[in-house]
Every structure is written in structure tokens, then in C-alpha cells.
């Protein structure tokens, strides 16, 4: 028996009070979406409602809670995820707290990130999973972090944080971007040798190589269907082998969204408003191509090397449909990124996905867009009680079969 598939509850913390005609009236949910739309009265208590949903996930037995960092947008109201993580250290007992991620080039000095994660690791008694990321296109505009040097800055910052947790201080860090004469952070993390580090990537070979070389976990941030995930996993497995390591399901994580209700029909009815709010409003400016301006990736965010960009141009067509461009349930189902249905339906879909991809960390978004608190909780509860146990049982056996070295890790 192997350690089973790890099921994490991800909350994006969307702004839920946009006007009904938002999509017609506004170009984007990101960066330029006017914050005069923020309703101070309705929004009182909103962040606490979201934090409580994550605390509920912990009582339901999820393996952890996931947070992310986004700025100046309606998709995610967590410009500083560490503040939410801090609340979770006090409100939860068991699950991991995954911050995916702190966006390093946005910090004046990444030493601060090493310090804050160390604090959180102490406050949670070793439950922190430390996500580190360079930030996407939006962040270059939000914080004026130059895209051309974003990745170089990022990997130097990763080295600084890693050393801050593992080298005896004080020591000097001779960085190009973050030179420090004295690195000697107090407190140190609880977890030894250092908290697990997860790094998101969207299929870039270079990111995979860096993650493999450093022994971190690779989080595939693109919303892909099973076949494409399996292909990315094969690539990552190969990169790991080249680095003298070996793939196992817990070296990688993927993102999906789920809504579970008693029946397929009921699941669609209950989740309809939240899902379409998420697709048409939250993804406008991000994963939506045919309306508005996607800022996530492209020539205006020139963070890729010239040769890599040429490869992208040679292998893609302009203006391809993205998740936010789907217009009906059938197209949504084909995209395989938002799974909606009865416990049986959702179980089958995820079970197939795990079998096909052999990925062991599933980061699952339950609250979508403006979904009501009671519906999000119901979906989480049905998943935890009727879907998760079966997925765990299946994967204990399947992973042990495919990865003999995991046998006995259950």
C-alpha cells in the first residue's frame, strides 16, 4: 500500500458582488477593473467567510488548504496569502497549509519570504508547504517587475530562501539582485531540512529542470485535460531522470475545480451561477481570449528566452480558445478542468484522471466565483465523505503497483 492521493482544498477568494452586467460593461477582471465596484457593506466579513470554509475543509479531513497570491483583481482577494495562512495556523489542526505561492520578484527582498514562511511553519507546528513563484503577466503590470529579468531574479531569490533555511547563519549572500552581507534569519522553520517547496510552472522545460535539480515539487499550473497532463508528467519524469532522480506521484501537483451534489442535474443547477461567474468575470483578462485582453502570457510579458518564444510561435496558433471561452456545459466538460456532478460522476472522472496522469497531489478549487457559502460547503462535504475515500483506496493500490518504492508508505 502506498501513501494515497493527497486531496487539498483550494480557495481563490473571488470578489462575489459584481453587477450582473459586468461582462458587458467592463473589459477585464484584472488590473484595470475599477475598485469603485468594491461594496464595503456587502464585503464586511467576506474574507472571514472564506477562511471559515477552509477551516471547515480541515475538519472534513482534507489533506490541506491551498492559498494563492494575486493583486488588483476580482479573481482572488489575497494580495498577501501569508496573512490568510496566519489565520489558518490558528483555525486548523491537521492539514497542510499550502501557499501557492509567494511571488518573489514582487518582494523588496526575498529574505522576508524566508522569514515569514519560517514564522508560519512555527505557528502551524510544521504544516507549511512553501510555494515560490515568479508571478505571471499580471504581476509585471501590477508591480512593474520587468518581465525580461523576472526569471533570473526569481531563481536567485529561490537560492537565497533555500540557503536562509539550510545554511548556518550568519553568512553573506553575494547575489546580483539581492546582495546581503548578513543572512541569519530567526526563527528557523520547524521542518527539517526545510519546508517542502512547490514551484508552479506551465510546461516550461527550464522550470522543470530547475525544480528537478533542486528536489522540489512541480505544480502544473495550466488547466489541461488528462492527456496533456500525462504528457507534462512524462516530460517532468524524464527531466527528473536526467537530474539523477526519479518520478513519483508526489513530486507533482495539478489544479482542478469541482462541484459535487446529489445528482448530476442538481450539481449543474446549483453550481451554474458560480461557475459562469468564474468563467466570464474572474477569467476575463486571464484565461479568456475572445473577450477582453488576456494578460497572462504573450509578447507584452517578455519573460521567455528568445529561442523559447520562437518555439511557442512555431507550435501555437494565435487566438486559441481558453477555459474562459467555453460557452456551454458540453464544452466545459470537454475541457476537463471543472468537474461537476454526482459523487459517482466526479469520482469516476478524477479516478480516470489519476490513473491516466499518475499525479498524486490534487489541488481542488471548490468555491467558484460568487458561489454561496452553503453550496460550497455542501460540495466539499459530499466530496470528502463520498468521493475522497474511494480515491484514496484506489490510489493506495495503484501507486504501490506503479511505484514499488512507495509500497509501505501508506
Amino acid at each position: 500500500m502506498s501513501k494515497p492521493v493527497q486531496l487539498f482544498c483550494w480557495h481563490f477568494m473571488a470578489y462575489p458582488y459584481l453587477p450582473a452586467d459586468f461582462d458587458e460593461q467592463y473589459d477585464s477582471g484584472w488590473i484595470t477593473v475599477p475598485n469603485t465596484l468594491w461594496d464595503r457593506e456587502k464585503s464586511r466579513g467576506l474574507l472571514n467567510e472564506y477562511i471559515d470554509q477552509l477551516a471547515y475543509a480541515d475538519t472534513l479531513g482534507f489533506d490541506g488548504m491551498v492559498l494563492n497570491e494575486h493583486h488588483q483583481n476580482i479573481y482572488g482577494l489575497m494580495p498577501s496569502p501569508n496573512i490568510i495562512a496566519s489565520a489558518l495556523t490558528q483555525k486548523t489542526k491537521n492539514g497542510k497549509i499550502i501557499v501557492l505561492a509567494n511571488l518573489l520578484p514582487l518582494h523588496g527582498n526575498p529574505l522576508r519570504v524566508a522569514e515569514e514562511y519560517a514564522m508560519l511553519d512555527n505557528m502551524s507546528d510544521g504544516r507549511i508547504i512553501a510555494g515560490l513563484a515568479p508571478g505571471g503577466g499580471q504581476e509585471t503590470f501590477n508591480y512593474n517587475t520587468p518581465a525580461a529579468i523576472q526569471r533570473e531574479q526569481f531563481w536567485e531569490a529561490v537560492d537565497l530562501i533555500h540557503q536562509a533555511w539550510t545554511r548556518d547563519g550568519p553568512f553573506a549572500f553575494e547575489g546580483k539582485h539581492y546582495p546581503l552581507r548578513y543572512v541569519n534569519p530567526w526563527p528557523q522553520p520547524v521542518q527539517r531540512p526545510y519546508p517542502p517547496v512547490w514551484i508552479p510552472g506551465s510546461q516550461s522545460r527550464e522550470t522543470m529542470r530547475q525544480v528537478a535539480r533542486r528536489g522540489y515539487c512541480y505544480f502544473l499550473s495550466s488547466r489541461l485535460h488528462g492527456g496533456a497532463i500525462a504528457k507534462a508528467r512524462e516530460e517532468f519524469a524524464k527531466v527528473l531522470e536526467d537530474a539523477g532522480s526519479k518520478y513519483d506521484p508526489f513530486r507533482m501537483g495539478i489544479l482542478m475545480s469541482v462541484y459535487v451534489s446529489e445528482t448530476d442535474e442538481q450539481a449543474r443547477v446549483e453550481s451554474h451561477e458560480g461557475i459562469w461567474y468564474f468563467l466570464k468575470n474572474c477569467l476575463k483578462g486571464h484565461l479568456r481570449n475572445f473577450h477582453g485582453r488576456s494578460l497572462t502570457f504573450g509578447p507584452g510579458v517578455p519573460n521567455m528566452e528568445l529561442a523559447d518564444y520562437r518555439r511557442v510561435l512555431e507550435n501555437t496558433k494565435p487566438g486559441r480558445a481558453m477555459l474562459g471561452d467555453v460557452d456551454d456545459w458540453d464544452a466545459l466538460q470537454k475541457a476537463q478542468s471543472i468537474l461537476v456532478g454526482s459523487p459517482e460522476t466526479v469520482y469516476r472522472q478524477i479516478s480516470d484522471l489519476v490513473r491516466e496522469t499518475q499525479v498524486g497531489n490534487l489541488l481542488i478549487q471548490f468555491h467558484l466565483g460568487n458561489m454561496r457559502d452553503d453550496l460550497a460547503r455542501k460540495s466539499m462535504r459530499l466530496f470528502a465523505t463520498q468521493v475522497a475515500p474511494r480515491l484514496r483506496d484506489d490510489s493506495r493500490i495503484a501507486f504501490a503497483g506503479h511505484f514499488p518504492e512507495l509500497a509501505g508508505t501508506a
Binding site: G137, T140, F141, N144, T145, P146, A147, A148, I149, E152, N289, F290, H291, G292, R293, S294, L295, G298, P299, G300, V301, P302, E305, L306, Y309, R310, L313, E314, K317, P318, G319, R320
Partner: protein, 273 residues
């Protein structure tokens, strides 16, 4: 007119350049809607500069075949790159012209080494901080609207977004692959020098312009929506020996592509061609 392309080695970095004409040297530093910034070869405006001059047009690092300069992440680094490039070319005293970000670099060079610049020409040059007169965000407008439309980018760079040259170099959807790569290279270079602070300026430059005492000419499109005309006025007022701003009516930021003859009618007499 015979234009020659060649690569030179600048302390281990390859710099692609185009040379044409004969006579006193004239260095031209390109912008976005320009040779190297999107076009692979000299355009009619640049060809017109060869009257009486040996035109030398290097491509910025990462652009049109020049190596990227990975050590550089500040305008200062790239200025030194050009000090080294001019040394490698054996240039002592020369006329210097530039458009957009190329004009910025030309102005920065001129205030540092006024003894080497015989004449200075700035066309729609960025580089200055002028309160309330923002230089356009070329990065956000390089992201296609509705998946494929670059209309707003064309509108920023040209007087009209349906001008033939605008559509030739910035078409909707996917353009010519080499054009796309040149555009990308220029955006990457621009991101390294001109993204922080936003966008394409050095707050200190305006107070240093007095050092550029060589004769200078400032040319601007009257409808420039990338670098507002106020920046042209500021250059003209603050350059060492004073200067005159020449506006080209009905032209946008890419004034030299849109109305090459009108710009050449100002530039060539000034250069003594």
C-alpha cells in the same frame, strides 16, 4: 544604395548592424516601429539618411540577431554596451540619431560623452519624466485584444490604426514569424531598460541635458500617442544649446515611417547632407 549587414564582436557579444552610404559617420539607434525593432532591413527613411553620411544602424541587444546582454538590467549597463560597441567600430566623433527608446539611449550617451557627438537628432524620443504626460504602455498594448487584435498597439504607434505600414508590421493574428521575433526581442530589450520605472524614462536625465551642447534637432509626430509631444518640448527646451522642436503634422509616433520625406526634410539639412 547598397546596404550591408554584418555582425561585429563587442567583448564577446554579437552585435548585428546594417551599414549604408559613405561619408561622415552617422549612428542610428532604433525604436519599436523601426528597423531592427520590427523590420529586418532599412526602410525609406533610413535610406534617406545616407545622403552624405555613412549610416551605421546597430540592433539593440536581443534584437534582429544581436545577442542578448544578460548582464544588463539598467539603462547604465546598456549605455556602456554602446560605449564598447562604438569603440569596437572605431568611431571617434560621429553624428547620433535615435527614435523612441533609441532616442533615449542617444540622449543619455550625448550627456555623458558630448565631445564625441557632433550632432544629435531625437525623433519621438522617450527618456524623460514629464509630470502628467505619461509615456504609453507598449507592453499592455502588445497583448492582443479579443485574442488577435493589435488595433490599440497600431493606434499607439501610428496616426491611424489602419495605415498600411501599421497593418504591415503589426497585423492582427499572427504576422510574419521573423517580424514577430524582432518585435519580441525589442519588447524584451525594452522590458530590461524601460519597465522600471514605468515606462522608458530616467528621472535624472532632464537635469543632465544641459551637458549636450552639440547642435541638436528634435522631431515629433504631432499625434504621437506613445511619447507625448510635451516630451519633445522638454527636450528642445533643456538640451544644452537649446533646440527647436519640429512637429510633423498628421503623423504619429512612427513619424519617420509614416512621413519619411517630411522628417528627412528636417534631418538632412540639419546634418549638413
Amino acid at each position: 544604395m547598397d546596404a550591408k549587414k554584418r555582425d561585429i564582436d563587442v567583448r564577446g557579444r554579437k552585435v548585428a548592424l546594417i551599414e549604408a552610404g559613405a561619408g561622415a559617420p552617422l549612428v542610428y539607434l532604433h525604436g519599436f516601429a523601426d528597423v531592427h525593432g520590427v523590420a529586418g532591413d532599412l526602410l525609406p527613411f533610413h535610406q534617406g539618411l545616407t545622403q552624405g553620411h555613412r549610416l551605421i544602424a546597430p540592433a539593440h541587444p536581443g534584437c534582429n540577431g544581436s545577442d542578448e546582454f544578460h548582464q544588463g538590467n539598467r539603462i547604465e549597463d546598456f549605455l556602456f554596451h554602446y560605449c564598447e560597441a562604438f569603440d569596437a567600430l572605431g568611431l571617434d566623433r560621429f553624428a547620433l540619431a535615435g527614435h523612441c527608446a533609441g532616442g533615449w539611449i542617444a540622449a543619455e550617451y550625448a550627456v555623458r560623452h558630448p565631445e564625441r557627438v557632433t550632432r544629435l537628432v531625437l525623433i519621438g524620443a522617450s527618456g524623460l519624466f514629464v509630470p502628467g504626460e505619461y509615456i504609453g504602455d507598449i507592453f499592455i498594448h502588445s497583448q492582443p485584444d479579443h485574442g488577435t487584435s493589435l488595433a490599440s498597439l497600431r493606434r499607439m504607434l501610428f496616426a491611424a490604426d489602419d495605415a498600411p505600414q501599421a497593418l504591415r508590421y503589426y497585423p492582427d493574428g499572427r504576422g510574419d514569424l521573423d517580424d514577430e521575433m524582432r518585435r519580441y526581442g525589442m519588447l524584451r530589450f525594452g522590458s530590461a531598460i524601460g519597465f522600471k520605472p514605468p515606462y522608458f524614462y530616467n528621472r535624472s536625465l532632464v537635469d543632465r541635458l544641459y551637458r549636450a551642447t552639440m547642435p541638436s534637432l528634435v522631431v515629433w509626430g504631432s499625434d504621437d500617442r506613445m511619447v507625448p509631444v510635451a516630451h519633445g518640448k522638454a527636450y528642445a527646451e533643456r538640451l544644452g544649446n537649446g533646440s527647436t522642436l519640429r512637429l510633423v503634422a498628421g503623423a504619429g509616433h512612427a513619424v519617420h515611417l509614416e512621413q519619411p520625406d517630411a522628417v528627412l526634410a528636417q534631418v538632412n539639412p540639419f546634418l549638413g547632407a
